[in-house]
């Protein structure tokens, strides 16, 4: 079992990244990534929900029967999201005001129910929590990357208001990369999200293709060309 931990982490963060590979959870992704800070906040909130829901589902999987598992998962996830919503409202109010509606919408983030159903309900508690963490961090990575691209191109800053949202300890993140920048409205609006997302996806595909090519060259097997052909 322990040998799998590397695979779980790798899958969640890169190979089966919830956005860049599985193309799930695009709604919150495009909606909140106007700035990198918002992306980071949303990603961390989703990660917390993912870890907690995977923990609950994995530890209760013995008593949850096959027929009613989906409603039970939904009730559990909805409760967790409501708790996160209340906690953010009470203790991270600035972040809550920005993310607002999208916190409650974590409940319909297909990644959360998807991991409960496809991983946590079939695995032990520890691997399930790790899976939740890896998937959540992978999602956070996607949110922050997209947020950074959109924020730099759209407003010329990076991690604006980070100290306001995450505490004074994060003030070092705030940067103005392009002084006196007039702003590029398209990148802040939803179409900019789609465009940036497309370029990031293309980038990942190219990178993956290169890595794969290198791996097959190293192996020097006769089937290598056939493999790359099916993959593309």
């Amino acid at each position: 079992m322990s040998a799998n931990y590397r695979a779980i982490a790798r899958d969640g963060l890169w190979d089966k990244n919830i956005t860049f590979a599985q193309m799930l959870a695009l709604c919150p992704l495009l909606a909140v990534t106007g700035t990198a800070t918002n992306g980071l906040g949303m990603g961390l909130a989703t990660t917390a929900v993912l870890v907690a829901s995977n923990l609950l589902v994995a530890s209760l999987r013995g008593i949850i029967s096959e027929q009613v598992r989906i409603p039970v998962f939904v009730v559990l996830i909805a409760s967790l999201v409501t708790l996160v919503d209340m906690a953010l409202n009470a203790w991270l109010h600035e972040l809550y005001k920005v993310l607002g509606l999208f916190i409650a919408l974590i409940v319909v983030n297909c990644a959360v129910l998807g991991r409960a159903e496809s991983f946590a309900s079939r695995n032990e508690v520890i691997p399930s929590m790790l899976d939740g963490l890896a998937i959540g961090l992978g999602f956070t990575l996607a949110l922050v990357m997209l947020g950074m691209v959109r924020e730099i191109l759209g407003s010329g800053t990076l991690f604006a208001d980070a100290s306001l949202l995450l505490g004074d300890a994060f003030a070092f993140l705030e940067m103005t990369l392009i002084p006196d920048y007039k702003g590029f409205l398209l990148m802040i609006l939803p179409p900019g999200g789609f465009l940036a997302m497309g370029f990031l996806l293309a980038g990942k595909r190219i990178l993956d293709g290169r890595l794969k090519k290198r791996a097959t060259e190293n192996l020097e097997t006769g089937e290598a060309p056939a493999n790359t052909a099916t993959a593309t």
Binding site: I63, Q67, T82, L83, M86, W91, H93, G183, I188, L189
Partner: protein, 213 residues
């Protein structure tokens, strides 16, 4: 009844599943009750902070010696209750602040306005809006000084026809690419002043205390 050879596993029985669902619903309710109980006070405090922050922008501290949030007055406007926060100085009402709403390009624009006892606007701030970033959001204090163009205006020094954007023959600038947004804010503020005039007596009467106190 199933045959003795293959008894129904208890987990497949309807009663087990109903009990399971009921049990989880109860568990969820208990969790949420605990969560609500432990965050309710902080959330109420944060809300009060938000209101206080928006009030302090439209009523400067030097105009009052009371707690603005204390005993707001509830008036009805077009069938809806409006909470009016009153600033008093030595028992005299010096200014009032109340929320008004405008119908913007893509939704409601929520505005807080402060009016002095003489009927002069002290300040107007947009609390929340969903206008287009980069076009309509110049009504925000952070994005431009347009919102300050209301300061010091009243119906005495600005006659009715001037309460419109320049395109409509008024005195307020519109933004290039966005006329609906400033038009909505001007209209909301103008109606807010009319509200003040209509209720002047009630608003300035210190003896008039809200029943909800």
């Amino acid at each position: 009844m199933t045959s003795a050879a293959e008894p129904t596993p208890y987990r497949n029985r309807i009663s087990y599943q109903a009990g399971l669902l009921g049990g989880f619903a109860t568990l969820a309710a208990a969790l949420l009750a605990v969560g609500d109980f432990s965050t309710r006070d902080s959330i109420a405090e944060r809300r009060a902070d938000d209101i206080r922050a928006s009030l302090s922008q439209v009523i400067p501290d030097r105009l009052h010696d009371n707690n603005l949030l204390q005993a707001p007055l509830t008036l009805t406007r077009e069938g809806r209750p409006v909470l009016v926060y009153r600033a008093t100085q030595q028992g005299q009402v010096s200014a009032v602040a109340y929320p008004v709403n405008g119908k913007g390009y893509s939704g409601t624009i929520s505005i807080m306005m402060g009016v002095s006892a003489e009927g002069e606007i002290i300040g107007v701030r947009v609390l929340a809006h969903t206008e287009t970033p980069g076009l309509g959001d110049k009504i925000e204090e952070k994005k431009g000084d347009w919102i300050f163009s209301f300061n010091g205006l009243s119906f005495d020094n600005t006659p009715d026809p001037q309460w419109a954007v320049k395109k409509d023959g008024g005195r307020f600038d519109q933004f290039s690419g966005a006329t609906i947004t400033p038009r909505a804010v001007v209209k909301a503020v103008k109606e807010g002043l009319q509200f003040f005039q209509a209720h002047r007596q009630e608003l300035l009467d210190v003896g008039n205390r809200s029943e909800s106190q």
